[in-house]
Every structure is written in structure tokens, then in C-alpha cells.
């Protein structure tokens, strides 16, 4: 998995989010944006079909505790469905960009 920083409020994640390292890297990148003062963060998750519970938990903390607005653009339908089943489409402002 790779993370690309795009500006001061956008991250693009390439590859599958699957390991402990992936989770830690994403958390660090999100925290860095938050520390730079971003109140709205856009995550483009191009091709991952999954997301670890650690990343989900961290995004929930950002939304509910730190009052950061998160937007997710996901390219893989399986990830969109996973987030839908967890009722996270609304809190994470998830949009499906595939097909």
C-alpha cells in the first residue's frame, strides 16, 4: 500500500489496506493533516477492497471526537459495500467512484 499526499487536506491510498503497517501509516498521515490544521480531509481509496478496524476506529475518532469532516471516495465496490454494511457511508461521506 502507498499513500500519496495531495495538498494539505487530501490523501490518496493506492493498494489494499490490509496490514498493521498500513493501518499505522494511514493513521500517521491523517494525524499529520489534522496537525496542519485541516478540518476537512478527503481520502481517495482507489483500489482497496477492505479497510482494517484500526483505520475505521481512527476515522471515527476524527469524526466524532475531533469534529473533522471526513470524505471518502472509494473505487472498489466491495469496500463501498463493507462501509455500507457498517453504516459508515453517511458519517464518512463515502462516495463510490468505480464503474
Amino acid at each position: 500500500m502507498k499513500i500519496e499526499h495531495r495538498g494539505n487536506r487530501e490523501l490518496a491510498i493506492i493498494g489494499n489496506i490490509k496490514s498493521i503497517e498500513d493501518s499505522l501509516e494511514i493513521k500517521k498521515a491523517l494525524d499529520a493533516l489534522q496537525q496542519q490544521g485541516a478540518r476537512n480531509i478527503l481520502l481517495r481509496i482507489q483500489d482497496s477492497f477492505s479497510m482494517t478496524s484500526t483505520v475505521i476506529g481512527h476515522l471515527m475518532k476524527l469524526v466524532n471526537l475531533d469534529k473533522i469532516t471526513i470524505s471518502l471516495i472509494v473505487g472498489d465496490r466491495r469496500l463501498y459495500e463493507l462501509l455500507e454494511e457498517l453504516n459508515l457511508v453517511q458519517p464518512f461521506n463515502v462516495r463510490f467512484s468505480g464503474e
Binding site: 490490509k18 496490514s19 482494517t52 471526537l65
Partner: protein, 575 residues
């Protein structure tokens, strides 16, 4: 000039129909207008009068009368012109035309634009009254019909809501009656061999003609019941639910019996059926008394499809039933005993599975055995079933799978990670590397396995090694401290995690059995029943493990997760 009279009372021999309605009277002749008004006032709820066609149209728009009575010959707009303008508004208000002309052209045009009635001039007032009364009755009849229709629609809506509530309530009851005491639980057998039971239950309708119950008995054995009631719909469902309820009732009172044998249990069940079933009704069902310590199952099958029993070497046997279906008539009850020694798994099903229609024609029983040989888990078998059969047209389906979780297999792997996040990660990578060297894994399977292991190892680490319980986890997340604690807190003294894996290659598609063990207190009993939603702060890890694996079992001592995943080698991911 306009004269308007509103009268609440009035008397006439000419019926009461008009009294509910309003009338617009358009007449340029003052004398006639006054005379008509005098006679009509009181017969209608309101009478509006207009002195010419233009005024008539204006009043029509303002008051929306139920009937229009108009003269034909007037300055400005004629009666027909007024009628045309009224029709342009899209309304169907009946218009009565008073005319002294018998010009065919006028009559024809009047008919074409939908004049309700003609009244010849000079008019006979009784004829005017009769005409208006007749139109009033038609209007009221139409309105009554509309009202009736509206009430019917409302009633249907109400019934629909009522039925939905009833159906939901019935479904809830059904879920309450069918039981699985051992869902996701590990069962200990002889020689420390562990087993698990999975059930797939898919009602076709709200209420199901199938039923089941998986119960743990007071003596450590398990008693399983599967039923498929004859026919379909409410009747079959009632039979299935009554049978299952009686089974549960008997099980709950077994400890009071002087001696318990399956045969005695069956006799009492048969007695109950003889009073409950209709004369022509029969029941397909199966009883399974599982004794894992003795490694055997006593079965009593009544017209269920054959069981499929697979040995650890992959060979499959079909086990046919001993009895015809149960009815109200007494019959001999026969049981058999199956040895589980050297057995890997047993599949029980109702005929909804074997009779399901294949997409290419024929029934699923033609391919059932080969699919079972390929699929070592219930989830893998269900994937095959779904891909081969016509969805939406099937009967009720119940599948039950008893599976050995400890199998002597050619490939085993074991790793003990350092108790830190990087340490866990390293062990996961080492394991995946070893597995890839051993068997073909497609990219998706590899990544799914990595997600599953990441979640399972973190779960063991936070609960079993750092001692973070549910309450503390919620508090740490709320305080924003959770991540720091996970990275910096030292493990409890004596804490350890062991990851072990077995690859069982006897089925056509190999089965990977993963076990993640820690020496913490283990997961709470309700851990796998917790609903996960947008507000949950725990339970998502287990939810993800279940999503990307075939099956998950938990069982002590300590924290133990046993995860099953069929390695399809890409077959399961073809779209």
C-alpha cells in the same frame, strides 16, 4: 350585476340530492333570473347568479359550483362559449343549457362539447327541477363511489401495514423458536479434538416450513433437530415451529427424565405428533445425538435427504435414512450410530437443497456430492450452491455442518510473535510467506488472509496481552489515548500469542485452519452477537474476520479464535 343567495334551508318535493350541492345560474334576463332564483333558492346549498357569460365564467372560477345552469343567448359569451371556457379549465362540471333555439348546429356542438342536459325555453319549471335533481343524483353517486374507492384504498393500506407488522412479529417468533446454543463455539471431543457446528437457514417466505435446533445437553452431549414440514406456507410453517418448540421443551426438561435415550425421546415426539398433525400430514426430520467423547452420533432420519460424511482422507459416504416420514400413525422407530473416528465433517440438509433447480436444468442433488467434495466448509458449499442454482425460486433451505477443527494434515505452521505491533506484523508476514511457498494463493485470498490475521492478532494483543477490556477500550478511544496505549503499554506478565495453521488438502479445494491463541480471559460470550453500527467502538475486528473468512469459532481456555478459510485458488473471486 351579481346577486348571490346562500340558503341553508328550503323545501321542495324534488328530492334532497340537490341540497348538498351548489349551483351557478347564468341568465341575462333579470326577470327569468329572479324567478329561477326564487324557486331554486333553498333547494341548493348555495346558488350563485350571474348576469352574463363573462360574469358567469368569473364566478365559476371563484366558487367552483357543482352544476352550471346557463342560458344560451346572452350578450358577450353565449352559453356554449361559457361551456367551452369551463372545459378549458379541465373540469367536468355538468352544464345545463337553456335555449329557445332548436338549431341543429347549436345542438350538435353542445353535444360535442359535453353539455349535460338541455332545457327548452320557455321552460317548464318542473322540467328544470327534474333535470337538476337528476344531475345532482348522478354527481352524488359518483362521489359516493369515489369515497368508497378511497375508503377501500385506505383499508388496503391499513391491512398492508397490519400484515407487515404481523409478518415481522411472526418472523421474530420464528427466530426465537429456532435455536443454536453452539453458534461459533468450539466443542471439545475425545483426545482433545475440537469440533464446531455451522447452520445455514434460509426461509423462502416470511414463515419457514423448515426448522432446526442445536442444543447442548446437561450431560455434555449435543442433540440436534432438523425438520422440513410437508407443503409450504403457513401450514407447513406452523407444523415446523410446533415441532421445533416441542423438541426444545423436551430438551429443557431432559434432566428430569429418569433415563434418557434417543429412542424414548423419539417416542414422546411421535406421541406429540399424533395429536398435532392432520391425517394427511407428514414430517421429514432428523435427530442427531452427538457424543464427541465417544466419537459417535446416534441418528434417526425420517425421509431427510442422505447425509454426507467425509473422512479426513477426503473420501465421502452417503448415509441414507432409516425411517419413512413421520405421520400420525404409529410406526417402528429406528436409529443408527455413526462413528466420528477418522471423520472430518458431516453435512445434514433439507430437501430444499437437494431439489433446488440448477441453472442448466436438473436438480442440485446431481452435483451435490461433487460440490461437497470440493467445499470443506459450509460457506464454500453455499457459494457453489448459489452460483449453480436459480435464486429466488427455491424452497426453504436448511444446511447443518458438523466440522472437526483439529485435523492431522501434511502442512502445519506455528509462530510466536514478539508482543508489539511490529512483532505481530512480522509474524503475519512470515506465515503468509510460508503459505505461499506451500500452496497457490491468488492475490485477493492473500490480502483477505492478511486482513483476517491483522484483526485476529490485534484482538489477541489488546485483550489478551495488554489486558484492555471493552469498557477501557471505549474510554481510551473517547479520550483519544487508544493508539498510544496500543503502541506503548507493556504486555502483562506471562502474556503470549501463538499463531498456528493447518492446511488440509483432502478436499478438492484445500482448507486453511488458523488458530490464534492468547492467555487472556478470552472473548465474552456475546462478542459475536454484538451488532456493529456507525456508533460501535468494538466488534468491528471480529466482523471483518467473519466477512473475509468462511467460519469463526471461539473457545477457551484463554482467548482462542479458530478461523476457517477455503483456498479456492481464484475460483471464488471470478465474477
Amino acid at each position: 350585476m351579481k346577486e348571490q343567495t346562500v340558503s341553508e334551508t328550503g323545501s321542495s318535493d324534488c328530492g334532497v340530492a340537490t341540497k348538498e350541492l351548489t349551483l351557478l345560474l347564468v341568465e341575462d334576463d333579470l326577470l327569468i333570473r329572479e324567478m329561477l332564483l326564487m324557486r331554486l333558492d333553498g333547494l341548493f346549498r348555495s346558488v350563485f347568479t350571474a348576469a352574463d357569460g363573462n360574469e358567469g365564467f368569473r364566478f365559476y372560477c371563484e366558487h367552483n359550483p357543482d352544476i352550471v345552469l346557463t342560458d344560451q343567448m346572452m350578450p358577450g359569451l353565449s352559453g356554449l362559449d361559457l361551456m367551452r371556457k369551463i372545459r378549458e379549465t379541465g373540469t367536468k362540471t355538468p352544464v345545463v343549457l337553456m335555449t329557445s333555439s332548436i338549431d341543429n348546429e347549436i345542438l350538435l356542438e353542445a353535444i360535442n362539447i359535453g353539455i349535460a342536459r338541455f332545457v327548452p325555453k320557455p321552460f317548464d319549471f318542473d322540467l328544470v327541477l327534474h333535470t337538476l335533481d337528476s344531475i345532482a343524483r348522478e354527481i352524488i353517486n359518483v362521489r359516493l363511489l369515489e369515497q368508497h374507492h378511497h375508503q377501500e384504498v385506505e383499508l388496503l393500506r391499513y391491512r398492508d401495514v397490519y400484515n407487515s407488522l404481523q409478518q415481522e412479529s411472526a418472523r421474530r417468533k420464528e427466530r426465537h423458536v429456532v435455536r443454536h446454543d453452539l453458534r461459533n463455539r468450539v466443542l471439545e471431543g475425545a483426545g482433545g479434538i475440537r469440533w464446531g457446528i455451522n447452520v445455514a437457514y434460509s426461509p423462502r417466505d416470511i414463515m419457514c416450513g423448515d426448522g432446526y435446533s442445536v442444543r447442548n445437553l446437561f450431560d455434555g452431549r449435543q442433540l440436534i433437530f432438523v425438520v422440513d414440514a410437508m407443503g409450504s406456507g403457513m401450514s407447513a410453517s406452523l407444523t415446523a415451529m410446533l415441532s421445533t418448540s416441542f423438541f426444545n421443551y423436551q430438551v429443557e426438561n431432559l434432566h428430569k427424565w429418569e433415563s434418557f435415550t434417543l429412542l424414548l425421546f423419539l417416542k414422546r415426539f411421535q406421541e406429540y405428533l399424533s395429536s398435532m398433525l392432520l391425517e394427511e400430514e407428514v414430517l421429514s426430520c432428523g435427530f442427531f445425538l452427538v457424543d464427541l467423547v465417544k466419537e459417535e452420533i446416534e441418528t434417526a432420519l425420517f425421509a431427510l435427504p442422505p447425509l454426507l460424511l467425509r473422512a479426513t482422507d477426503g473420501s465421502v459416504r452417503r448415509i441414507r435414512g432409516e425411517n419413512p416420514p413421520l405421520g400420525i400413525y404409529p410406526c417402528e422407530l429406528r436409529t443408527s450410530t455413526l462413528s466420528l473416528s477418522g471423520m472430518a465433517d458431516l453435512l445434514i440438509m433439507t430437501d430444499g437443497v437437494s431439489d433446488a433447480l440448477l441453472l442448466q436444468g436438473g436438480s442440485y442433488r446431481e452435483v451435490l456430492e461433487s460440490d461437497f467434495r470440493a467445499a470443506p466448509t459450509l460457506a464454500a458449499l453455499q457459494r457453489r450452491f448459489k452460483s449453480r442454482t436459480e435464486q429466488g425460486e427455491q424452497d426453504d433451505l436448511t444446511l447443518m455442518h458438523l466440522r472437526r477443527l483439529d485435523i492431522d494434515a501434511g502442512w502445519n505452521w506455528k509462530g510466536i510473535p514478539d508482543l508489539s505491533l511490529p512483532g505481530l506484523s512480522r509474524t503475519i508476514r512470515e506465515f503468509l510467506g510460508a503459505l505461499i511457498a506451500e500452496t497457490a494463493l491468488d492475490v485477493v485470498e492473500h490480502d483477505e488472509l492478511e486482513v483476517v490475521l491483522t484483526e485476529a492478532m490485534i484482538n489477541a494483543f489488546e485483550h489478551g496481552c495488554l489486558g484492555i477490556g471493552r469498557e477501557e477500550k471505549i474510554r481510551l478511544i473517547k479520550e483519544g489515548e487508544y493508539d498510544d496505549v496500543l503502541e506503548r503499554r507493556s504486555a502483562l506478565p506471562g502474556a503470549a500469542i501463538v499463531l498456528s495453521a493447518t492446511l488440509w488438502r483432502s478436499p478438492t479445494k484445500p482448507l486453511l485452519i488458523l488458530e490464534i491463541r492468547d492467555n487472556g480471559p478470552g472473548l465474552p460470550d456475546d462478542a459475536l452477537n454484538t451488532e456493529v453500527d456507525e456508533t460501535s467502538v468494538h466488534g468491528r475486528g471480529l466482523w471483518l474476520i467473519r466477512r473475509f473468512s468462511d467460519s469463526l469459532f471461539i473457545g477457551g481456555p484463554g482467548g482462542r479464535l479458530i478461523i476457517l478459510k477455503t483456498l479456492e485458488g481464484g475460483d471464488a473471486h471470478e465474477d
